[in-house]
Structures are given as structure tokens and as C-alpha cells.
Amino acid sequence: MRKLLTEAYRFIIRTSAFIGKETIEVLRQTPLILTLVLGPFLIMLLFGIGYRNEARPLRTMIVMQDGDPYQQQVESMATSLGQGVIYQGTTSDRESAMQALRQGSLDMVVVIPPDIPKTLRGNQQVAVQFYHNEMDPSQVSYIGYFGSTYIDEINRRIVRTYAEQGQENASTLEQRLENAHQRVDAMRQALEAGNAAAAQDEQVQLDGEIDAISLLVGGSLGLMSSLDGQMVDGEGAPVSTENQATRDYLTQLQEHNQEVSSIQAGKASYQSELEKLDQLDSDLSNLEAQLEDFQDVEPGVLVAPLRSETVNLQAINIRPVDFYAPAAVVLLLQHLAITFSALAIVREERSGSMELFRISPLSSLEALLGKYLSYLLVGAALAAVITATIVLAIKVPMLGTWVNYALLVLTLLFTALGTGFLLSLFARTELQAVQYAMFILLGSVFFSGFFLDLRYLWEPVRAISWMLPATYAIRLMQSLMLRGDLVDIRLYATLLGIGVLLFILVWFMLRRRMQSEWS
């Protein structure tokens, strides 16, 4: 028992040898800490402050023929499309516009083709060309997206103009309907007075009004039907109930008008004609009511009946810096832990200390535990400083519990240390170890989802992502800080599992390294 206690005591003493030594060594290397921690942190901070998540305004010139009838409309649209376009004028000199684009004084040249009405009459779309001189694929995509949005907006405005025009026609129609009512009243009075000749005169004028009403109603119906069609599936779409009712009222109106068209003079009673005039009056009122609905509709609603509203389930409004800060903390801590541990074993090997350890009673487990614990302590202290900075100074929200946060940070450090120790066992020189650590950092920046969502990666390549501790920790950290919980406990378990596996692997390899040839 006493022997066991003595051995346990010595185990603690031997393990503590590395806790003290490694911690002091790291803390004494102030420039190293500044380089490893403050350097990347300042870069990320500057990036966070400097990054603007806004659409880039494009200096745009429009090329169209002199005297084009649409010039005023196009210019008006160009200047009223928001901050996406910095309108630089309209020219008919295409070459000079292209030259300016090549020289970088313009970002985009919009070429409007000549004779738009002719193209439309030929039942063809008008192709508006957007020229740019970008190399960056994301900027190329942006300009493509911008062009498409720009054209959609113009199309929408054109349709709106038609809608407004249709509503103006409806106002004319209202007047016509009023006129028709008056003619019907005049006919009624003439027939009640037995004046067939006067009634016939009025009927001729009523015919003219109903022809005009038929034309105007037909136009409005066309517009509304096309809108209905867009709402459903284009051609062959079913006609709405309201439109069908309007059509029915119009047909009845025309039929009843036909019936009162042949009034004979000298009849004793015009009772049947008077009844038909009542029906005609009723038809006109029905049509009037139906068209009031159409007139009351806002043109913007007619043209764009649907609009999007995005509702986030998150309790808070997340700024770009809030989203990236937890990921930056993860990358920073991972890089720190990997760099420290990547140097740890190769440095002992290069300095000759490993030879001393082989002869000493020190075991690989004691050495490894000591190193793990020291770097966990240092990493946790640095994590506390970094976290305090982003939460208190940058005001990144922290919705999760600090216990979960501490567990996550320790697990990340534990796994990253395992990665670093593994690299250290493969590295032959300290320079090589640092290069390996930088290689992991580079891989993490691109593959961990730090700034590029993993869904954009080809699936086999995603395997690399899931080999990196940062991939798990970034998701967990963002979820913990911005949602208040660990997104998926399986992610945490996998991160911890990788850490444990690395610990066992590194222990096995270090054990072999510290064994003598005799073993």
C-alpha cells in the first residue's frame, strides 16, 4: 500500500514537471504569444470592423441610340433603382463606354438595343446586355445577379404602367356606364310616354355606348386574365370566378340590348320593352360593381401580388461580426494549441532531452499528461482573455451558459493539442512542425466553414472538413453563443471522441519513441 502511494505521489510529481516547465516556457516567450494570439486577433478584428455586408454600387453607363424614344424612361429607371447603381450617363458611343470599362473608370455598361417596339411586335424579347470587366468569380456572379434583378424591376415597372393604364381605361368605362344608364332612363321615359321614335333614337345611342363598354371591358379582362394566368401557370390557366362573372354580365348586357333594338311604333303597351330595360339597367349596375373592384386594386398589388418577408427564429439580430467572432475564436484557439503542441515533442527530440527522458524513470503517459495539462491551462487562460474581448468589447452576444462554453473550449483545446502532438511526432525539425501547423490553419480557413458554408463544398471534399476540430467547434460555438445551446450533442461527442482517439494514438507513438532499443 505504501509502495503504491509512493508511486502515485511520484507519478504526480513527474507529471507536474511538465506542467510547470511548459507553462513557464510559453509565458516567457512574449513575442511568440503576441505573434500567435494578438496578430491573428487584430487581423480578424480589423476585418470585422472593416467588412461591409452591403451590395457594391456599380458605376454604370447606358449605351443607346440617339433619339431613342425610350431614352427618358431608361434614364429615369437607372436613377431610381436605388444605391446599386451609380448612374454615369447615357451615350450612343459604345466604343468609348467599353474603353472606360476596360480602364476601370466604369464598372458596368448597359447596352439597350435599338428599335424596341419592332422587336416586341416581332413577338421577341428585347435583350439588354450588361458588360463588365471583372475577374473575381463572385463579382461576376454579383453582376449577373444584379443584371437579372435590374431587368426584373424594369419588367415589373412596365407591367405596372400597363396596369395603371388599364385602371385609367376603367375610369372611362365608368363614364360610359353612366351614359348607358342615362340612355336607358331616357328610353324608359320615352316608352312610358308612348314615344317610340324618341325611344329608338335613344336606343341607337345606347348601342354606341354598349359597344364602347364591350371594348373597354374586354381590355381590362385581358389584363386581369393575364395576371391571373401568371399567378397560376401561364397559358391555359383557369379564368377566375370574378372575371367569368364580368364576362357573363357583359354577354347579358349585349343580349338584352339586342332585345330592345327593335321597338315598334304605335303599340298600346310597351310593358315587355320596359321590363327588358329594367334588366338592362340591372346588367349595367352589376358590371359597374364588378369593375369597381378592379379599379380599387392597387397597381403595385396587381403587378406583384406576392412579396417576401423573412422571419428569423433567432431571438436576436445577428450582425456579421457576431456570426464570425465565435468562429474566429475557434480558429485562433485551435491554431494556438496546435502550434504549441506541434513544437513540444520535436523540440525535446532536437534538444536531446528525449535521450534523458529515456534513461529517466519518466513514462510517456506522465510526459504527455504533463504537456496536455500545461497547454490546456495556457490555452484556457488565453481563451478567457479572447472571450472577454469579444463579449465585452465587441459586444458579441453570449446566449449559452458559461459552463457549456468552458467545456467546449476545453474539448476544442484537447482535440487540437492531440492534432499538434501528432504533427510533432511526425516533424523532424521545429520549422517543419510550424509549417504543419500553418498547413492545418490554412486548411481550417478553407474547409471548416469559417467563411464558406460546407454545403458549397463537393461532398468528398467535405471529408477533409470533418477531419478538422475547427469544423465541429465552429458550429458548436456559433450555436452556443448565438442560439444559446449546442446545436447537436453528436457534434460535441464526435469532437471529444476525436480528441480521445488522438490522445491514445499520440500516447502510443510517444511510448514507442521513448522506449529504448532494448524494449
Binding site: Y9, A17, K21, G352, E355, L356, I359, P361, W518, S519
Partner: protein, 335 residues
Amino acid sequence: MIETALVHEKIDQNSIRADQAAAVHTIQVRNLRKQFGDQVVVDDVSFYVPHGTVFGFIGPSGCGKTTTVRMLTGIYHPTSGEVEILGKKPGKFSRQDREKIGYMPQQFVLYPDLSVWENLSFAASVYGVGFRRSQRMQELLEFVELWDHRHKKVGQISGGMQRRLSLAATLVHEPELMFLDEPTTGLDPVLRQKFWQHFHDLKESGITLFVTTQYVSDAAYCDLVGVMVDSRLAALDSPEELRRQAFGGDLVMLRSIERINYDRIQALNQLPFVRQTGRVGENEVRITVDEAATAIPELVEWSKNTGTEIESIQEFLPAYDDVFVALINKESKRA
């Protein structure tokens, strides 16, 4: 084996019975050989190191000294031959066995960013020293005269101080046996002498020291010396015996007032205790004798008898560099 025979002769001189020999030898090496690929680095080396002695393992750089130390400490496995350290094969060392051994490697391997005290504390922890650690460390730092520098970073102290700190780190767990791989290399003569004084103090406290060195003159400080030449042990004996081995006996320098002529030199050669003579100058001759202590009175007597007026007569102790060169030459001829 000539080496083994010499060692046994020395053991016999110390009146140690053969059956007790194994018990008192801290290190026993028989026919040790180490080969890396086709290259033989240590070839057929045999020696014993008795408990409480300072064993000097001398030879030029690359002769196989460090490889031998690594086999003795258990880092390398011998290609053939047998090693026993403290009665155990290095491959069978337990933790307790390792705690009895101290190793000071050739290169300084402590940590430059830690202070003298912190480095020593680390070494103590590695060996599980817990109780009375501070007191032990203070004693050691005073012993190697570094107490006043204990707060200095190791990267900022001199090479000699670093060596002394290495020595302290090797001693911190109070080992029974110490392997010191070229501890005096690069030190100035004064500091070297100090180191050897430390080694003798340690020996006095009962520690066995196995010291490798390139400095042949260091042999004078050892109880027993093994001379390595081209991977082989060329000689093994006490420093005095090595000198005798190198020159075939003790050397006596005889200087006369007059010129020593050829007839007198011939007469000297006829004396039974004289092995050979060599003229050094007109009136000076170097005489190789069985034993200087007994030969000098007889030579004085011979001078009186032959009318040779002696200006001076004394034992000549050649520098160990010369001893070493002579041994190498002998080994080369033998090979």
C-alpha cells in the same frame, strides 16, 4: 582477452575474491559490439568498473565512446555481448533502477528560457524528487557554485555555468552511478580541474562515475582508464600502468655534467632493471626501467661505480598526450 585479464589483475591487486567480484562491480561489460548496418561502431569491448571508482573512458571523437554509454544506459541494444549495470541488464531496468542512475549527456539539454532554479526543479520532478527537494537543490547549487545565479535564465549564463548546472541536474536525485558523457569538453583548464575535483568529491561519497573524455590528460584524475581507438578498447588500466604500458616501463631522466659516451650507454643497457635507453642530448639519457622508485638509487650507485658525475636524476612522467599517442601506435602495430 588482454583487457579482461588486465582488469582481473587489478581486481586481484585489490584483494577481491573472484566470487565477490560480480557483487562489487557496478558495471560489467563482456565482448560488447554495436553495428549500424555494415559499420561497426563498438567492437569487442570488455571491462568491469568496480563500485566507487572513477572510470575514465578516453578516446578521440568518433571512436565509439558515446555509443558505448548509450548501450550501458539502455538507449541502444548491443549487436552482441553482455552488459550488466548494478547487477541488471539495461533492458530489465525498473523505475527504481533508473532512479539509481544519473546521465549527463554530451550536449547541454536544459531549457534556456527557464532559470537555473527552474531547470533544476524540472530535473528533480522528472526523477520524482519531492521531499526535501528545495534543500537538496540548494546544496547542489552551492556545490556547483551556482547558488548566486539561481534566478538567472539559463540562456543568459556562461557555457561553464551551464555545464555545472547539467552536473547538478544529474545529481539531483542522488544516483549511485553516473554516466558523464564528455562533461569537460569545451571547458577551460581551471574549470576542468574543478569538475574533476567535483567528481572526486562524489566518488568519496560512494558514487561510481563513468566519465568519457577526449582529453587524454584527464586520465590522471581517474582510478581506472579505458582507452578507445577505432571502436576497440586499446588499453585498460590505472593511469600509472597505462604510462608503463605505453613506454614499456617507468622513465628516468639522467643528466650528467660531462658527455655520456656510447660505452656508458651500453653499460646502462646491461643493467638488469633497465629495459632500454635513449639519448636525449649530449649529456642526457632517458632510461626505461621496471620501476622508477627502485631503479633511481641503483642508477646513482652505478654512476658512482662508473665515475659518471650526475647533475640530476629523476623519474620522468610524460604527458598523457604522449602516453596516448604511444598506445595508439602500439595498437596500430598490433592490429
